[in-house]
Each structure stands twice: as C-alpha cells, then as structure tokens.
C-alpha cells in the first residue's frame, strides 16, 4: 500500500466528515434491527444432516471419469537453483502420466495479489509458479507427478532426481532487522503515527511499562488439507476447490490461463476449515496446468507437510509496547511498534498495531510497524490477523501497568476508555466494551480474584485469574451481488457465490432472507459455493455476513420495486414506492397504512408471471469510513500452574462480546468458542518451529504443531451485550476473528496472577515457568 492510497483514503474520510449521516448507508438504521423474526433464533445448521452423515461433498471428493492423481515435490533447500533434473525414471514408473517441472510448465504471468477492492486479485504470493529453475524458499513447489493412482504418483515422486546449487539465504530474524522496511501504510491505515511527545511522557510519568513481546509463527491447521479436483473440456475449466475466495479465483484463473471468464467454473460448496489459509496458492495453478497438458481430470490433495511448508501462516512478531500513566491512572503515552516478517512477495502486513490505535485514550501516541524480508513461504492472513498477536502485547502491558499501580486491571481500562476514536476523533458507531466487562466480571466472579500474584494454591497447583480486551474492526467488502428468484407460490431462492468454511453462512443468510422478504424460513433456499452465481466477495476479515446481508437488502429493495411495478394501478399498494412498504407474511404492506397490502401471489398472478428474478449489488461500505466500527470483547480466564512442572491448565474461560446483533445464537456461540480455542492454542502450545540455520520449518505435521485437543479445552462460557450497531446491516458486526483476540493475553495475565511470573514470549510453555 502506498502514500497515494493514504492520501486518497484520507481525503475520502474528510469529505465524508462533511456529509450528513443520513446520506450514507447505515445512516438510517436497518429496519430489520430489533424486529423479532428468524434472525436471532437458535436455528440448527441447515447443512447439519449432510455433515453428520458424511454427505457434504468437499473438493477432493468429486468423482470424475478418467481421474488421475497428483503429488508435489517441494524444495528441501531455501535459496538457490535446480542444477540437475532427471525425470526419466519417474516418467518410466508404472502408471505415470506426466511429470511437470519448470521445463514443461506453460509460461504464465504472476497472479495479481489479493486486494479487497479488486475481485480478480486473489494471489497469496507474487512469486512465479514453476516458471524457472530458481528456489526462493524452503518448501517451494518444484515438480508435480501425475499418475493413474495416488500410490503410483507418490512412488514416482521419489524417483525424480534433483540436484541443487545452494545460495545464501536470509533466514534470521535478528539479522534482518538491519534492513527492515517501513511501509507507508498498513492495510488502509497510515503506518507511522505520532501524536505528542510519547518518549518524553514515558520518562516523566510516575508509572510506566516498556517491554518487548514475542509471538512465533502460527499455522491455520484446518483439518481439511488443501485440495482440488479439476478438469478441462476444451477451453472450459472446472475447478472443485477448497477456497474462501470463489469468484476472485475464477476471475484470476480466466486471466492466468487466457480463457473466457464464462468458461471457468469454480465450485466450493463446503470448505473444511479456512481461517485465512484457504485462498489462492501455487497448488491450484500446477494442478490446472497438469490437467490441461494431460487432458485428464486431476485430483491434488496436499500432504500435511506440504500444507505447512507451501501455504503460509501467521508471521512471527516482536512488538514493543510502552504505556505511561499519571497518578490518576490516565494514560499519558501509548506506544506500539515492532517488527514482523513480511517478504516483498507476501500480502499480509500482520497489522498488530492497528487494534491498539483504537483502544485507549492517551495524551500521546506512537505507532509504527517494520517489515523484515526473509526467504520464507509468504506469510498470510490467519484468524484475527494483527489483533490476535497485537492484543497479546497491548493487553499484557495494560495488566503489567495495572499491577504496578495497584489498580484493578478492569478499572484501569475503564479510566482510559475513549469516547471517540483516539486518533481520528471519529464517532464510534456503537461501543459497549465496558458493558461487556461488567457482564463478564459478574458472570465470571472476578471479585474472587486475589490482586496479589502467587497467593492462591491448592496442592501443587497455583491458581490465578486474568482478563483482557479483544477487538477486531468491522469490515464490509466493497463488492458483491445477490440474485433473488421469487415464485408465485411464495418460494424464494437467494443466490451468490458465497463461501462457507463452517461459519453457518447458508443458515444465517436464509434466516436473514426470510425476515427481509417476509417469508417463512422453509420458503427460502440459499444457493452458494459456485462461481456461476452472482459474485460474492471472498470470505475474510469477518466481513462476509454483513457484505452478503447488504447485497440481499439491496436485492430485496429491487424486488419490492419490481413487485410494485407489476402490481398495477388497481392494487391496494398502487402508487407506493419501495421505501414505503415492507415485506411481511408474503405481502407488500404499506408502512403508513397497514390496511393497504397486496400479496406476492396475487401480484404475480395478475401480471401473468410464474416468477420474478432480480439481481442487485450492495451499496458501497461508506459506513466504515464515516464511523469507527469494531467488534470487541472482554475475555476472562482462570488458569492453574503446577509449581512442580510449570504445566499450565486453563480451567475456565469466558468471553463477553460486544459485536452488535447476534444473528443466530447457536452458531454464533460456536464461532466465538472456536476463536477462543484458537486463542487457547496460541497461548499455550502453538508455534511454528523455524530452523534459522536451514530456513526449514521443523514441525510440519499435526503431531508436532500442537493445536488444542479435547483434554485441553474446558467448558467455555460465551455471553454478549447484543446491542445492535445502528450503522450496519442487521445491526451486526463480524464475529469470526474477534474470538481469538485478547485470549492469549487473558491467559498470560492469569498465569501472572497465579505465579507472579510474567511471560512475554508465546507460547506459555512450561520451560518458561520453571
């Protein structure tokens, strides 16, 4: 992102500041807010029966006539070139169809890297894919072997002889600091921001903390491996993919392979977990190229090791957080800076300082991130990008300052709660984090906490409590369309190329469409997961639900206009405009005079129409620029630490969320819990072990990269304020990312309260507590 972008976004924000709120989408609250209907009901997942019976069809599960199977070979060296390559033995092995290397790979352009404003830009890497003999990181794909069976492909891959010429590689975090880059912006925010003289305040303040916090690399570790099943029919391409970005993938592939967009179909009705990792990587491209050359359908499922080594994860960070406070506990300095790894060919700046910019009121501020360039698999977005690790640093620091001052950490946060956005002065659309704290503290029994660390002990176990704030910005994507097809019989099909990695997209949007169209839930069919449907933006940034909701609202408005037009002059609703009626009980009903009504059935019958179909795009998400909008949480943890082994067990975890309207309490609670459990893993066990000597990831398996197992996960309580956001569709904000934020800090703070030991390096393994 550039300085030009900073200027453009800055001026748009300035202009928006002059405009009256009612001109903006969200200026008038969504009329569905507060209406009791399907939204807000504890609906079970509509796809539940399919999933529990194994009938949900994932990308690697589509059968095709003449299928062949692919295996990849990944580079075991970090930097250099392929000096010798002999594929003869592999090609002669039983069942082998094709060995694809840089020698016979079609010449392809670089895939444009992902961007929220360009629906054709989807790449996670700006590196060429199998285009030359260069090795640029350890794990880079260097060959694909295709055979009649998986077993034959796997064996033949061992017969490809490759000699490497190694070159020096940049693999060391500390050494890279000398050449750190300072980007102009982080996503859509200006990177380096200073307000007042923070260094001076730090020196003069009666209370201050100033420490470094370190977080390692993390892996998405979705249980479904990245996989595709793909086939060409002439110039028409079908790709069954496990992807969070269906329409952008189809757009990018058409351009990359030089075929018509209409001839490319990407299907992804179910995705076995994404968390940011299931977007566009090298494997789709090599599989599609192989299918074209072999003129056969191809299935490629990455090995778990390949997922770890050629799909980037969350990057490691080293963050400095410094806080200063006056005698009254008011912050006089908030500093959050640091280093993270981001190769020039990667897309994710791991925006760890952005959450801190909207967190607390202070006299002075200093923010800025620096990027380190290493020869590694390009890092990418992973659940709660930025805020997950950023909140660990900031919320640990707040706890440290509270301890130093002898103030309750919730009280310290209350004293520094901002009334408007701390840097821009922009109004919050709605912010109830203090209410979330109040509810959470009461429910959790925070008053049982002993302020003095290390004072509660039962046998070998030291027990403590901690809390922390979580946050993630509201995002609505600036693109996306929805089609509504309504029949005379009152059945509606709502369609777009949306993705579901387990969030419950079809369930929640069906509930929403039922209320929006005034039809029962049973009358709604939600179609998704197919690039032939109207394009939805990628599922990311916790943005999909409101993005699609806005498109459904726009399409419902258009449908209303269409029905009013068809209703004719004899209709009781004749002369009314779309904004003057609402859809309820299968009818158009005048807002002013509810006696004026006409049913969908009657209107379509009179017009001699069986069906009516409309397609519309969502309004531009200007509310994001006009207001400061964030999902927030107060996380509470009780942890016990063995005084003998240093083992940490989290015994209780509670999340109190302030995320606007909760659309489906059942699925929302699951999503919050899921985020918190990923936070639990981040706190206690998860760590991509990177060998700085070789540049190789050492724990590329689920046996060695430890995600929480059943025995690690206590009963997790989830509550919410439920206060609707007056500026967003349905009053909702995102809930997918915010669950992970704040959790690691709450756990680290509980561990400090239990032991008196402050650990600033994740994960909190027992060696750090002995």
């Amino acid at each position: 992102m550039s300085r030009v972008q900073n200027a453009v976004i800055g001026s748009v924000k300035t202009v928006l500041g002059w405009m009256p709120e009612r001109w903006l989408p969200g200026g008038t609250p969504d009329p569905l807010i507060g209406r009791h209907g399907e939204v807000g009901r504890q609906a079970s997942r509509l796809d539940g029966p399919q999933k529990v019976q194994g009938k949900a069809r994932f990308a690697a599960e589509v059968a095709m006539e003449g299928m062949c199977y692919a295996t990849l070979i990944n580079s075991p060296i970090t930097r250099g070139r392929i000096a010798r390559l002999d594929t003869a033995a592999a090609e002669a092995a039983p069942g082998v169809v094709l060995v694809l290397t840089h020698r016979n790979m079609p010449r392809l352009e670089i895939v444009p890297v992902m961007s929220i404003s360009n629906m054709g830009a989807v790449g996670n890497s700006a590196l060429p894919i199998l285009q030359d003999d260069q090795i640029r990181y350890n794990g880079q794909v260097i060959a694909l072997v295709l055979a009649e069976t998986q077993e034959q492909a796997d064996h033949a891959a061992t017969l490809v002889e490759i000699g490497y010429e190694q070159a020096p590689a940049r693999t060391r975090f500390e050494e890279a600091k000398a050449n750190a880059r300072t980007p102009a912006s982080i996503l859509t925010e200006k990177n380096q921001v200073s307000v007042g003289d923070a260094p001076r305040e730090l020196q003069q303040a009666p209370y201050s903390v100033d420490n470094l916090y370190r977080t390692p690399g993390h892996n998405h570790a979705a249980i479904e491996l990245h996989a595709v099943t793909t086939a060409w029919d002439g110039d028409a391409l079908t790709l069954h993919d496990a992807t969070q970005a269906i329409a952008p993938t189809a757009n990018a592939l058409a351009k990359l392979f030089g075929v018509r967009r209409e001839g490319v179909r990407v299907l992804s009705p179910f995705v076995g977990g994404g968390f940011g990792g299931k977007a566009f990587w090298d494997h789709q491209v090599v599989a599609i190229a192989a299918a074209r050359i072999a003129a056969r359908p191809v299935r490629l499922m990455l090995s778990r090791e390949a997922v770890c080594r050629m799909i980037g994860g969350r990057t490691p960070t080293e963050q400095r957080v410094a806080l200063a406070a006056d005698a009254a506990g008011k912050f006089t300095a908030v500093v959050h800076t640091g280093f993270s790894v981001m190769p020039t060919y990667a897309v994710c700046p791991e925006q760890y300082s952005l959450g801190s910019r909207a967190a607390y009121r202070s006299k002075t501020y200093q923010f800025g991130q620096r990027h380190l360039d290493l020869d590694v698999v390009p890092n990418t977005y992973m659940r709660g990008p930025g805020e997950s690790v950023g909140s660990f640093a900031m919320e640990s620091a707040v706890d440290e300052l509270a301890h130093q001052m002898g103030i309750d950490p919730i009280e310290l946060r209350r004293r520094n709660e901002p009334e408007t956005h701390p840097l821009s002065g922009t109004a919050f659309s709605q912010r109830g984090v203090l209410e979330a704290y109040r509810m959470g503290a009461e429910r959790f029994g925070w008053d049982q906490r002993s302020a003095a660390p290390g004072t509660r002990r039962e046998g070998e176990w030291l027990t403590g409590m901690g809390c922390a704030t979580g946050s993630f910005p509201y995002v609505r994507m600036p693109a996306g369309a929805v089609r509504i097809h309504l029949t005379q019989g009152g059945q509606a099909t709502v369609s777009c190329s949306a993705q579901d990695m387990g969030m419950g997209t079809s369930t929640v949007q069906s509930q929403h469409a039922a209320d929006r169209l005034g039809l029962p839930l049973e009358a709604i069919t939600f179609e998704m997961g197919d690039s032939d449907l109207p394009p939805a933006p990628m599922a990311g940034g916790s943005a999909q639900t409101v993005s699609i909701a806005a498109a459904i609202a726009a399409a419902a408005d258009k449908l209303t206009g269409e029905l009013l037009r068809m209703a004719g002059n004899a209709s009781p609703v004749a002369g009314l405009r779309a904004g003057e009626v609402r859809l309820v009980g299968g009818e158009l009903v005048s807002l002013e005079d509810p006696a004026r009504r006409d049913s969908f059935h009657a209107i379509l019958s009179r017009a001699g129409r069986e069906t009516v179909t409309v397609t519309a795009s969502a309004s531009a998400p200007l509310e994001m620029l006009k207001f400061a909008m964030q999902s927030m949480s107060a996380i509470f943890c009780e942890a016990r630490v063995s005084a003998v082994t240093g083992e940490v067990r989290v015994t209780r975890l509670l999340g109190s969320f302030d995320c606007g309207t909760i659309l489906n309490p059942k699925t929302a609670a699951s999503q919050f819990r899921g985020g918190m459990i990923m936070g639990l893993g981040m706190a206690l066990t998860e760590e991509t072990l990177f060998d700085e000597r070789s540049g190789r990831i050492m724990n590329a398996s689920l046996a060695d990269y430890h995600i929480p197992a059943h025995l690690d996960v206590p009963d997790i309580e989830v509550i919410w304020t439920g206060i609707p956001d007056p500026r967003s569709p349905l009053g909702a904000r995102g809930i997918g990312e915010v669950g992970i934020t704040g959790v690691a800090a709450a756990i680290a703070n509980a561990v400090f309260n239990a032991t008196g030991k402050r650990v600033r390096d994740l994960p909190l393994t027992l060696d750090k507590l002995l």
Binding site: H220, Q671, R673
Partner: protein, 167 residues
C-alpha cells in the same frame, strides 16, 4: 478376498500399498471418511473395524480382508440418523463438518469402550465399571482433532447419547 463395508463386500485392492482410507474414498467413493493428515495425528479418518475404532490412514486395506468396516455412511439406520449424529446437530458439535465423521465414529466406539470397563488415563478406579463423565470423554476423544473449536458441543453430544443409552 473381500472387505465388508457397511454390509457390502468390496474387493481387496491389488496394490498392497492402498490404505483402508484411500480404498474407501477413492475406490468405493465413500467420501464421508475424511483425510486430515495421513499420518495418524488427527483422527479425521476414524472408522469402525469389527466395531472398534481405527485410523483408516494407518490401516492397510489388505489388513481389513475378511473383516467388517463401518463408516459414517453406514452408522445410521437407513434414512434415520444414528443418535450420535442427531446429538451432534442438537449440540452444534461441528462447524465446517470435516472432522465430524471421524469424531462421530470415534464417539460411538469410545462409549462402548468406556461402558465395557476399559480404563483410561483419567479413570480413578481401574477395576470399576466405566463412568461416563466429561473428563473421561475429553481424554478418550483427544485423538480426534477439531480446529473449528466444537469441543464443548462434541462433549455435550456424547454425554447426551450416554444418558439416552442409560435410560
């Protein structure tokens, strides 16, 4: 030479390298059994072999010769859901649904083990009758990883089924 899969005989593959997992997914097209790691670390490929849970990725197909395999597709009674499948829906014991068939197969066999008196690491009385507790379930289900974080719902679903069975 045949393997009985959900009551239907399927031939043992010629290639001895074929795992039971790949036999089910790629040759029998029973894709309800999932693959998450192919190295016995995640449990997504759990099926029942003669009624006991096994990791089908670490089981060669030839090892199942003459034996009976039950997969997620064969767990229910025709169109009706198995009580464990229904309990997973009731308690939202999944999100993406990918680890789910393995969790459900493991849960069904695990309850039998527990109720049959097989002790676990957290069992206090090794000689006693198995008592179904959340702690026992957590310990015994720890070989089935879930990344969406449906652990609480899964434990509740299993507790519900155990309660129904006891009633």
């Amino acid at each position: 030479m045949a393997i009985s899969v959900n009551g239907t005989d399927i031939p043992v593959p010629d290639d001895p390298r074929v795992s039971l997992l790949d036999l089910l997914r790629e040759r029998a097209h029973l894709t309800g059994t999932k693959v998450g790691c192919n190295q016995g670390a995640c449990g997504a490929c759990t099926v029942l072999l003669d009624g006991e849970r096994v990791l089908s990725c670490l089981t060669l197909a030839v090892q199942a010769d003459g034996r009976s395999v039950t997969t997620i597709e064969g767990l229910g009674d025709g169109a009706a859901l198995h009580p464990m499948q229904q309990a997973f829906i009731d308690h939202d014991g999944f999100q993406c649904g990918y680890c789910t068939p393995g969790q459900i197969c493991a849960a069904v066999a695990m309850l039998r083990e527990l109720q049959g008196g097989v002790p676990s690491y957290v069992t206090a009385d090794l000689a006693g009758q198995g008592t179904v507790t959340a702690e026992e379930i957590r310990e015994r289900m720890s070989g089935n990883l879930c990344r969406c974080g449906a652990h609480n719902g899964i434990v509740e679903a299993i507790l519900q089924v155990a309660k129904e069975q006891a009633a």
